[in-house]
């Protein structure tokens, strides 16, 4: 079955978000001296790169070509919040973002009538995403003594609020494409953290 334009847009959106994640984590993995996180951060970077390739393959195998999309989800975060100030904030914003991605992928994979290759790609990526959440959660916990547990919690809360705003902006702009596929519930249902 060929891709509809809305499907092609959505898979391209996923692809660009994964590329952006890879670029970001690649930069961080290249410069951090934090020995507690450098290995997991490098694996995370490699996963995001692989995911971008999975989406590219998926689009291609379904007879489409990736769309060139600008202004990624991650860039919208920074436009609203400013850049993260330190490694803890980088992990906190990533934790919130990854949770959003996992929710979206999970919801998408449950759609009736979803193309098997898309479901297979979502499932393959979600395994990695679950690990991303886990390693970052543990890393943030380990940073408690350095940054303060309450500061970390406050940072997560702050980025949760920003994520809700970015998600709302995304839905305002592109919601019709998502709703056309039935791949999104209401904003309130998806915005839980």
């Amino acid at each position: 079955m060929a891709l509809s334009e809305n499907e092609r847009w959505l898979l391209s959106f996923y692809r660009v978000s994964e590329i952006s994640g890879a670029q970001f984590f690649g930069r961080m993995a290249r410069v951090t001296k934090n020995e507690d996180i450098i290995v997991d951060m490098t694996k995370h970077f490699a996963d995001e790169s692989a995911h971008a390739w999975y989406w590219t393959q998926c689009i291609q195998q379904l007879g489409g070509k990736p769309m060139l999309l600008k202004n990624t989800y991650q860039e919208q975060y920074f436009q609203i919040s400013g850049i993260p100030a330190n490694i803890m904030e980088i992990l906190a914003i990533t934790q919130i973002f990854e949770r959003r991605v996992l929710d979206q992928y999970n919801e998408h994979s449950r759609l009736p009538g979803i193309q098997p290759l898309i479901r297979e790609t979502l499932s393959r990526i979600m395994k990695d995403e679950a690990w991303h959440l886990q390693w970052i959660k543990e890393a943030l916990r380990a940073m408690g003594p350095e940054y303060g547990t309450q500061t970390i919690k406050d940072t997560l809360d702050r980025y949760t609020e920003i994520d809700n705003r970015v998600y709302k902006t995304t839905m305002d702009e592109f919601g019709d494409r998502l709703v056309a596929q039935g791949s999104v519930n209401s904003f309130e249902e998806s915005a839980h953290v």
Binding site: G82, I83, N86
Partner: protein, 84 residues
């Protein structure tokens, strides 16, 4: 200029790939680094080079090269003071 400020400027120039004498104190960081991911990388590299941790408040105060130099120099001074 103190030795620590000279070191900070040298490190910043290295990260930016510029000669230190080409680094203008009033140059805007957002002009020097226009892409947000690169700016995050710069901020992390500077922190890791000097063993300090920045906050959102620090970032708000860091608009120029001189601002960044001052913020990190103050952090280093505070660390030295805390270490006795």
């Amino acid at each position: 200029m103190s030795e620590s400020k000279i070191n900070i400027r040298e490190q910043l120039a290295e990260v930016l790939g510029l000669r230190v004498d080409h680094l203008q104190g009033q140059a805007s960081l957002s002009d020097l680094v226009q892409e947000s991911f690169m700016l995050v990388e710069l901020v992390i590299q500077m922190q890791e080079a000097f063993g300090v941790s920045l906050t959102q408040k620090d970032l708000q105060d860091m608009k120029t090269v001189d601002d960044l130099t001052m913020v990190i120099a103050n952090k280093l001074e505070a660390l030295e003071y805390a270490d006795g």
